[in-house]
């Protein structure tokens, strides 16, 4: 699920937290509805299967970030590596480069306007889940339970709606396309330094990136605003692990926090 990890990682840049990963554990589904675990398996098959997801150790995606209504356009890069390294950069004219990362232990963000921050609490839980390179194959790492709750229309498509509860007792919803079986999106309270923000994420335009069928377009709606993340290109197994090392200012903040405990 590298490509999905890449795309959901982009969310963290603007709302400073990750969108949902695709992990669900198998629990009993409501009557006449497919079990959530089966929906997950169908999705995994749809994106290329377990072997395809496990064939790479790192990825580097390039694309664009837009808030179309506001005329904001930027470039984006997402670096990810097994087991759980993530670095997202978005360069927005007039604002600068926003960086968000997770090195397997520390989640962080550096925004030109607000300065460096180290994530904690639920925000850290969410980016940990997000950064797992093949988290969709290991839902038990993050998910306590899942349940298919209804058939419903989502983003103009008939879908199954799945309620997900994480190990840290967070509830959110995922939507699986009835026809294709692929993840159509999610609705989740994304944590941020300003508090929780409800984000509706629509994943669409799935296409092949190196043998993995992944969404090339992610639309996210929050606070009445829509942002668009487009991936044009993905390279695999070319990422230098040094990229995930903590930036200087984050390392300084982390060492200070360690001493103050």
């Amino acid at each position: 699920m590298r490509a999905m990890t890449i795309l959901t990682g982009l969310v963290s840049v603007m709302v400073m937290l990750p969108a949902s990963a695709l992990a669900q554990a198998g629990t009993a589904a409501a009557a006449d509805l497919p079990e959530a675990s089966l929906l997950r398996e169908r999705h995994i098959e749809g994106v290329g299967g377990r072997a395809a997801l496990e064939q790479y150790q790192s990825s580097h995606a390039l694309g664009t970030f837009e808030i179309p209504g506001q005329g904001i356009h930027g470039s984006l890069e997402v670096f990810a590596a097994a087991p759980n390294n993530l670095l997202v950069t978005i360069d927005i004219p007039g604002i600068g480069t926003v960086r968000t990362g997770y090195d397997g232990e520390v989640g962080w963000t550096i925004h030109p306007a607000t300065g460096p921050m180290v994530m904690e609490g639920r925000q850290l839980d969410q980016i940990r889940q997000q950064a797992d390179f093949i988290g969709v194959l290991h839902p038990e790492r993050y998910i306590a339970s899942t349940e298919t709750v209804e058939e419903t229309e989502f983003a103009g498509r008939p879908t199954y709606k799945v309620r997900v509860v994480t190990l840290w007792d967070e509830e959110y919803f995922e939507f699986f396309d009835k026809e294709t079986g692929l993840l159509a999106g999610s609705i989740r309270q994304q944590e941020s330094p300003m508090g929780a923000i409800e984000v509706t994420t629509v994943t669409k335009d799935y296409r092949d990136f190196g043998g993995i069928n992944a969404p090339s377009k992610v639309v996210q709606r929050m606070l009445g605003q829509e942002q668009l993340l487009i991936v044009d290109q993905v390279e695999y197994d070319q990422v230098d692990g040094a990229l995930f090392e903590l930036p200087n200012e984050i390392r300084t903040l982390v060492s200070e926090q360690g001493e103050s405990r």
């Binding site: 506001q70 005329g71 007039g94 030109p112 607000t114 300065g115 300003m194 606070l223």
Partner: protein
């Protein structure tokens, strides 16, 4: 002393439009698109205004009232006037229609050469009593070179007398104070194409009439464009003040607009003054900008994630919190500045500047000096409309940590002080002086940190 007013803020209604209109013919007016534009503007506010009572305006009825006029509009100007009327009925700040020709020119990312044409005169003005007075003159600018000094009175700009402009503004109802509008109107006339002459009639410090034709220089500020907003011209200055009278040494930090491109300079200035007796953040004339930047700048003065206030949108309530800055601009570990911080404001201090001043004031971290601020504090977005114009509209309100809504009220200084013309003539800045005196008193207190 006051600093030059935010030319960038004013430019989009002045120079940008001038340049655009000089280069391109007016597009043909399409009534169908015009009506779509009206409908879109109405709908965006209907769907996103943070207050579902629309500040007491029957928003649905208003559409019924104004839509026929929008449908019958024959020109873009007529349509803009109708949409402007609709937005004006809200009687709130941060609702405006930005003309396409203002929004789309002078884009620094396009490097089309127009930016070289942006000019200013290097002076700032305020309404003091009944006179528009020069409050600041940039020593590197054409006004200074021609002998203009703080304390001079502006009597005419171009062919217009300032008295007539003032009368005109006073005859129009507006929630925006006249001192804000006249300063903006006069300053807007100072901006224009670099290299072009502009005539100004002054009274000098001895009240002798002086007529000058000044040539606009190329604006030395940094152009910044964010999305659909017009280009801003960002500038920052800082200095170390050693006051022998008050026996303190403080850092004075001033910037004309909250733009992320200035953050590194501001961070470096705070680093430079970290060991001094106090820091003065001078927001006089600063009309606002990028609200998120407030969290970072405020973080220089807090050791914890202190909540400065709350953003209330229609669907969410968000915390507005200082991000403690425990790392210096060079990546070294530091403690956020714990000493006395004075914030200077005036009637031209608006939006993000008020969010900062009012937010840090509400938790008792700073002392605010000067005049009541503009009272224009609503987080806003800029949506493109079908005809290319941009709708600037608020989607949230800001409430300080102690529960005060700053919109329509402004930040009330802890020490209200007004500058007089005589102060300027004699080279005094009573607002800064009061801040220095307070810092000196704070430093005498055993509890003083830093």
């Amino acid at each position: 002393m006051y600093r030059r007013q935010d030319a960038g803020k004013l430019l989009w209604t002045g120079l940008a439009a001038t340049l655009a209109l000089a280069c391109a013919a007016q597009p043909t007016f399409d009534r169908e698109v015009g009506l779509e534009t009206f409908d879109a503007a109405w709908r965006i506010v209907y769907e996103s205004h943070f207050d579902t009572t629309f500040n007491g305006v029957d928003w649905v009825a208003l559409k019924g009232e104004l839509r026929p006029a929008a449908a019958a509009a024959d020109t873009r100007a007529e349509l803009r006037s109708i949409i402007g009327d609709m937005l004006g009925r809200l009687e709130q700040s941060h609702f405006a229609l930005i003309p396409q020709e203002a929004a789309d020119t002078l884009d620094p990312t396009l490097d089309d050469g127009d930016l070289d044409q942006v000019g200013d005169l290097g002076l700032d003005v305020r309404l003091l009593g009944e006179e528009v007075v020069v409050t600041e003159v940039d020593e590197t600018g054409p006004a200074w070179a021609a002998g203009v000094r703080a304390g001079w009175v502006v009597r005419s700009v171009g062919e217009a007398s300032v008295d007539s402009l003032l009368s005109r503004l006073r005859s129009r109802e507006s929630r925006i104070p006249v001192q804000f509008r006249i300063a903006r109107l006069v300053s807007r006339r100072f901006t224009g194409q670099a290299g072009t002459p502009y005539r100004i009639g002054f009274l000098d410090r001895a009240d002798r009439p002086v007529a000058l034709e000044l040539t606009r220089r190329q604006d030395p500020s940094e152009p910044v464009k964010i999305g659909n907003l017009p280009t801003f011209f960002a500038r920052m200055a800082h200095r170390r003040i050693e006051s022998t009278e008050h026996r303190v040494t403080v850092g004075h930090v001033w910037f004309n607009v909250w733009m992320a491109t200035l953050v590194k300079q501001i961070d470096a200035a705070v680093d430079a003054y970290r060991d001094l007796d106090g820091i003065v953040v001078d927001l006089r004339g600063n009309p606002g900008g990028l609200g998120a930047m407030v969290m970072g700048v405020a973080g220089h003065f807090f050791d914890d994630r202190v909540q400065l206030g709350t953003f209330r949108t229609r669907s969410a309530t968000l915390r507005y919190t200082a991000n403690p800055r425990r790392v210096s601009s060079t990546g070294e570990r530091v403690q956020p500045f714990a000493g006395p911080v004075a914030v200077l404001v005036d009637g031209m201090t608006g939006s993000a500047s008020e969010l900062f001043a009012g937010g840090v004031q509400s938790v008792g971290r700073v002392r605010v000096f000067g005049e009541r601020s503009a009272g224009a504090v609503l987080p806003a977005r800029m949506d493109r409309l079908p005809n290319g114009d941009v709708l600037y509209h608020a989607f949230a309100e800001f409430v300080t940590a102690d529960g005060i809504t700053l919109e329509g009220r402004g930040v009330i200084p802890d020490e209200p002080i007004s500058v007089t013309r005589n102060d300027l003539i004699e080279g005094r800045d009573p607002v800064l002086d009061a801040a220095l005196a307070w810092i000196a008193e704070e430093r005498k207190s055993p509890a003083a940190g830093g």
